[in-house]
């Protein structure tokens, strides 16, 4: 089964450059339907204003962290089923455990290649469809 490349993906990261980097990596995998938000608060506004199929969020952000955003998404009846890929600069055990407990779909440690990012997305989407 091939994954729908027209998935609308929300990238959440406080660094505009990192959002561009992720957008560039997604493009290499054929995913070009992308929206962006600079933190968790902005992400929730986007999620409430338009349909989104997949969330890729940084962990460390001001205002609302990736973990707080994940918890907010999982506790919202309309959003709770959304696939959520967490991006972290380090795979500290405590962080991974907290993210898994909060219902993260998967996580990816920076730095990562386009291949690894796109494999993670496809794996999550296929597991949801199975």
């Amino acid at each position: 089964m091939s994954v729908n490349k027209n998935l609308k993906i929300l990238i959440v990261d406080d660094f505009a450059t990192m959002r561009k980097v992720i957008r560039n990596l997604l493009k290499q995998g054929g995913f070009e339907n992308v929206v962006e938000a600079e933190d968790g608060v902005a992400a929730l506004k986007v999620l409430k204003s338009q349909p989104v199929d997949f969330i890729i969020s940084d962990w460390n952000m001001p205002n609302m962290s990736g973990l707080e955003l994940l918890k907010a998404v999982r506790s919202d009846d309309e959003l709770k089923a959304l696939p959520f890929l967490m991006v972290t600069a380090e795979a500290l055990k405590d962080n991974v455990v907290a993210a898994v407990k909060a219902g993260v779909s998967n996580y990816i440690v920076k730095p990562f290649t386009a291949e690894v990012l796109n494999e993670k997305i496809e794996k999550i989407v296929k597991s949801l469809a199975a």
Binding site: F15, T17, V21, N24, K27, A89, E90, K110, P111
Partner: protein, 157 residues
């Protein structure tokens, strides 16, 4: 400075630049730096605390960082603009993350602060421990950059 700290930062730098920017930097021989003058045109600096304490700086020549960030973004950047500053902060953050992961296997649990970025000719780098620092020089096809670290174990580890 404890030599155990050199390889994790060296390896982290190579991994981050190869993975995110498709640039293969070649490391030169590390040397001691006793002044605070940066060896590049733009630097990312990050504080480290925990079972080791200190700071890490990455100082890039303009030509090297323009190529690195252009590769990361998939678009050509010609001047040291806001995208470059953001990217230097993010690269510093990622190198620190990769190095701390390797240091974790040596028994060090280290957390990092938020990186700051400074630009300009002969700007200064103030290390948390005051210095001297170890410089690991790197060459890329588009110019040099250095990793500038000053870190020490806490509690006689």
């Amino acid at each position: 400075m404890d030599v155990r700290f050199i390889n994790p930062f060296l390896n982290g730098t190579v991994t981050v630049l190869k993975t995110m920017a498709f640039v293969e930097p070649k490391a030169g021989k590390p040397f001691l730096k006793k002044d605070t003058i940066a060896r590049g045109d733009i630097s990312g600096i990050i504080g480290l605390t925990g079972s080791a304490r200190g700071s890490l700086a990455l100082s890039f020549s303009e030509s090297s960082i323009l190529k690195i960030v252009s590769n990361m973004l998939g678009e050509e950047i010609k001047t040291l603009n806001g995208d470059i500053k953001d990217a230097v902060g993010e690269i510093t953050n990622m190198v620190s993350g990769a190095a701390r992961k390797e240091l974790e296997t040596l028994g060090f649990n280290i957390t990092a602060a938020i990186p700051t970025v400074v630009a300009g000719k002969d700007h200064s780098i103030s290390h948390v421990l005051g210095g001297p620092s170890i410089i690991i020089p790197f060459e890329t096809a588009n110019g040099p950059f250095v990793v500038d670290i000053c870190i020490g174990a806490v509690g006689g580890q």
